[in-house]
Amino acid sequence: MSPTNLTKKKARIFVPPSNLKDQLSRPGGTTRDDAVKAAIAGVEMLREKSMDAIDQAIEAVEAVAQEGMKGALTESNLKDVLRNADEIVELAGTFRLENLDAAGRSLCDLVGLLLKVSPYPAEPIVVHARALRLFAPGRPSLSAAQTEVILGELARFRAFFEARPAGTP
């Protein structure tokens, strides 16, 4: 059947009923600058709790990495790592912890690649876990050169698994 034989339903275009504009435009309220300032202060109040959460998420990745070194990782292990890495990225991004954010993103990408190969190797997770710990809040800050080396190593792992055909052990 050619597309011209298809009966096309007419599109209905309309302004949806809503009183949201009236609600938002009522007297009072807050300006953008004030609202943003208050929101930034509000998020900042969550910093301490968030730093603890980062620490716990890194610990969880380390635990899986350690477990993986004893035997083969499972898909469920990798999904746990992904969930924790995602949490690290979310928190590191919010509080502008750039290196931690980069290492967390690298781990997310890596797990995506590892899920295509079996058995799942633990070494790349171990190295990423170490990098996360080095970039964790409260740790001594690293020089730009050291940071570059670490992130470069993480990138090498990703490149290796990217180049590896799916399904090869």
Binding site: T30, V36, A38, E87
Partner: protein
């Protein structure tokens, strides 16, 4: 002269569908600081459906990857089956590749906001959705904000001239937009001062 809009969120309601406890606490806190106190948080798509069947909310924030369902499917459900299908929907995503944004657009979300959330971005998006008067379009394959900015002629295809365009929505004749093009269409534009 005040350039940015002054928004009164008092009494405005929002549903937050997000399973990640950190994401939801950041979002809830930002909205609270904007003055949007009436929030209800759910963790799953199923809970969001149940809530929306009972309560009409003014904004719906939906994570793209909920534990029990894809956020895009939930957006489609809202547009097709919810009692209030025209609610402004913000899809929250950690991954904002072109496919993800195109998927969100085609599902009928008003906007896609990348995580981690920025208060500036969020405020501007809320102002744009809340104060703007964007039309909706309902077709067999799409229900959601009308993203076209071109005049397509009189309604129902009843033009007086042979050159008038009909409103039939056929197959796409151009490739999907790039991320930059989507951002350009979705980003807030100058609002009329009230």
């Amino acid at each position: 002269m005040e350039k940015s809009p002054r928004l009164n969120f008092n009494g405005v309601t929002a549903l937050l569908a997000e399973a990640d406890r950190h994401s939801v606490s950041f979002l809830a806190e930002i909205l609270r600081r904007f003055g949007l106190e009436n929030q209800h948080c759910v963790e799953t798509g199923a809970e969001a459906k149940v809530y929306m069947q009972r309560v009409a909310v003014d904004f719906f924030f939906c994570e793209a990857a909920l534990p029990d369902m894809n956020g895009l499917d939930l957006v489609r459900w809202v547009r097709r089956s919810a009692p209030v299908p025209y609610v402004p929907i913000v899809l929250l995503t950690g991954y904002s590749g072109v496919d993800a944004v195109v998927g969100a657009r085609d599902a009928g979300a008003n906007l896609v906001v990348k995580k981690p959330l920025s208060p500036q971005v969020l405020f501007d998006r809320l102002a744009w959705m809340g104060l703007g008067t964007r039309k909706f379009i309902e077709t067999e394959s799409y229900v959601g904000p009308d993203r076209r900015f071109k005049s397509i002629g009189p309604p129902d295809g009843l033009g007086r001239r042979s050159t008038d365009l009909s409103q039939d929505v056929g197959q796409a004749t151009e490739p999907n937009m790039t991320q930059a093009e989507i951002d350009a269409m979705m980003k807030p534009t100058k609002l009329a001062s009230t």
